[in-house]
């Protein structure tokens, strides 16, 4: 399939380029525009980004493969990135991975047959105080997970209801 940017995408890429003195700097944001449009940045998409920015394909490929959040292959509709790093490990992050593995019948790193979910084990997401937690498709964080909370999330996602911003109140900003 031939990938093309929409007019809006191209306009966005132009405005991104204006932020930097050098077009190369637009590589990361342009890859984001592409991933938001196509859901991944497979080699064909990387070529499109290179062509659009008039940069070598090898450069764009090098960047796309350096950063973990760019999907170099197609993923499920929802990507569940479960943090298992330090604080999440201490608070049961691996139990959450195992629970989701059992629920979905896949292992971490795999996608369900219906293409609905990809499960990934990821490094620290910077939500250490709200462990264990996961991120849904590079967007919202779901914090303080329990098996019940995970089940609820999976049911909602199956219905296409995406999680909303889970604001964490400041516990005792002033400690007395």
């Amino acid at each position: 399939m031939a990938y093309e940017f929409t007019k809006e995408d191209l306009k966005e890429i132009e405005s991104i380029k204006a932020k930097y003195p050098d077009v190369k700097a637009a590589t990361l944001p342009a890859l984001w525009v592409a991933q938001n449009r196509f859901g991944h940045v497979e080699p064909e998409v990387q070529r499109l980004v290179a062509k659009t920015l008039e940069l070598p394909e090898a450069h764009v490929h090098g960047v796309a493969t350096f950063y973990t959040q760019y999907y170099k292959e197609k993923k499920g509709k929802y990507v569940l990135d479960v943090c298992t790093c330090l604080s999440c490990q201490l608070c049961g992050g691996y139990d959450i991975v195992e629970h989701i593995e059992n629920r979905l019948g896949i292992k971490a790193g795999e996608t369900t047959e219906d293409g609905m979910f990809t499960l990934t084990e990821v490094e620290c997401l910077g939500a250490c105080g709200y462990a264990p937690m996961l991120q849904v498709t590079n967007d919202q964080y779901v914090n303080n997970l329990t098996p019940e909370k995970v089940d609820e999330l999976l049911e909602k996602l199956k219905k296409g209801e995406e999680p909303e911003y889970d604001q964490i109140g400041m516990p005792l900003r002033k400690v007395k």
Binding site: Q89, C91, C124, G126, Y130, A131, L172
Partner: protein, 431 residues
């Protein structure tokens, strides 16, 4: 040493004010007063240098982990020559245990924007970039809005507040790479490349973004600047610990009842932070160990913590560091072997692969620790691990190798009995 009066401390970075993320509310609470002052009150701030001197005197030690005096860093910028100069604000925040800067993005973005603007003015910077890790998409959007609001109010842009100073301010979103929190790697990433750290010298102040003078500061570091300008260097340096003054955003996670981010003076006793601030240990378990400032800072055993406070001098006395003040609290049930293996896995995953000692070393640390974790290791493997750490430290372009080596060395040294207990009995044992 007199103890720090943290119970009566009033937060300045994330005070309890509803809607402070909105620019109007921020202004109503004294926001942008400091920036206006440095731009327009010539009797108070005759030149840019006077601003740098004040910040230098306050001794804001970098909150990203290195603890370097921010004003001193600013003073390394060469004189302005009319060509582009940059301020790169580091919001990559990826060190395990660290989750503080996001609170500024969320609750008080303008205090950071104002601090960055003052820094930019003091160094005559022409463009500010704030690098935010890609996973913080929510905060990227919040910051974009906050910056736009500041543009609309005339705090950013051309001839700010009628002065002859102009600056632009952009958000640059990362895409998942811990290494991009390393300052020169961040510059590479901003320039649109793989995040490979650069060899220093030249230092960024000489050759940074696109070969031009650049200063890199952590988000929290910059957020302290407005209050220093408003209240003076003496006010700031009188808060908390003498050699590491000012407020800290303590991120407390792990086995405590009330994990979270707390703004308190530096130098609060570690045990107060655990037992009072964070509500004590979960399930009334006993404290076993604390990692004081992100996963790279050496772990401290509970029996070493009596009287230890969160500042560089006190923590040095137990062989560790303040780092990012992202404290990870571990209870008596924590398996130190598993914990250390997970840290080693992290650094192996995040090594950029540029330098051999780090690329290979982090891999071997993880591999050998996995073997021990699985009960397949031998006691001599512990010495092998310690040997590998000495082959890594100080032998690479950036500090990731050190960050990977320290926890391994210190966790093994401080909990050696636990590691030995997991090893197979040596077939060559003679006693």
């Amino acid at each position: 040493m007199s103890s720090v009066d943290w119970k009566n401390y009033k937060p300045t970075l994330i005070p309890d004010i509803d809607g402070l993320e909105k620019i109007d509310v921020y202004e109503k609470n004294g926001g942008y007063k400091a920036f206006k002052s440095v731009l327009t009150e010539n009797d108070k701030w005759p030149d840019e240098k006077s601003v740098i001197d004040e910040v230098k005197a306050a001794n804001i030690r970098g909150r990203g982990g290195a603890g370097f005096n921010a004003g001193l860093k600013w003073s390394f910028m060469p004189p302005a020559d009319g060509k582009p100069r940059y301020l790169a604000c580091n919001g990559d925040e990826s060190e395990p245990g660290t989750f503080k800067d996001r609170k500024i993005f969320e609750y008080n973005p303008h205090v950071f924007i104002e601090g960055a603007l003052i820094a930019a003015y003091a160094m005559q910077v022409t463009t500010i970039y704030v690098y935010i890790r890609g996973e913080y998409l929510v905060y990227v959007k919040m910051m974009e809005k906050a910056i736009q609001d500041a543009y609309d109010k005339g705090y950013i842009g051309k001839n700010i507040l009628g002065s002859d100073y102009s600056v632009d301010f952009y958000v640059h979103m990362g895409a998942g790479a811990y290494i991009c929190g390393e300052e020169t790697s961040m510059l590479e990433s901003l320039e649109g490349k793989r995040g490979y750290p650069r060899v220093k010298p030249p230092f960024p102040a000489q050759k940074g973004l696109w070969g031009r003078p650049t200063t890199i500061n952590n988000i929290e570091t910059l957020a302290h600047v407005p209050s220093v300008i408003n209240n003076g260097a003496d006010w700031f340096s009188s808060i908390g610990a003498e050699n590491h003054p000012g407020p800290f955003l303590y991120g407390i996670s792990g086995h405590v009842n009330r994990p979270g981010v707390y703004e308190l003076p530096s130098g609060v006793p570690v045990l107060d932070l655990i037992h009072e601030v964070a509500g004590g240990m979960r399930n009334d378990k006993k404290l076993k160990a604390v990692i004081p400032g992100g996963s790279s800072t050496p772990v401290v055993r509970a029996d070493q913590l009596e009287g230890i406070t969160m500042d560089s001098d006190s923590l040095r006395s137990v062989g560790t560091m303040v780092g990012t003040a992202g404290m990870v609290i571990m209870d008596e049930d924590t398996d130190m072997v598993d914990m250390l293996w997970r840290i080693a896995h992290f650094y192996h995953h995040e090594s950029c692969g540029q330098c051999t000692p780090c690329r290979e070393g982090t891999g071997w640390l993880e591999k050998v620790l996995l073997k021990i974790k699985n009960g397949e290791g031998e006691v001599k493997d512990l010495d092998l691990l310690l040997d590998v750490t000495t082959q890594m430290e100080g032998r690479t372009i950036c500090a990731l190798a050190d960050a990977a080596a320290w926890p391994v060395r210190h966790t093994i040294n401080r909990f050696r009995d636990e590691f030995e207990a997991r090893c197979k009995k040596s077939v060559h044992a003679v006693a």
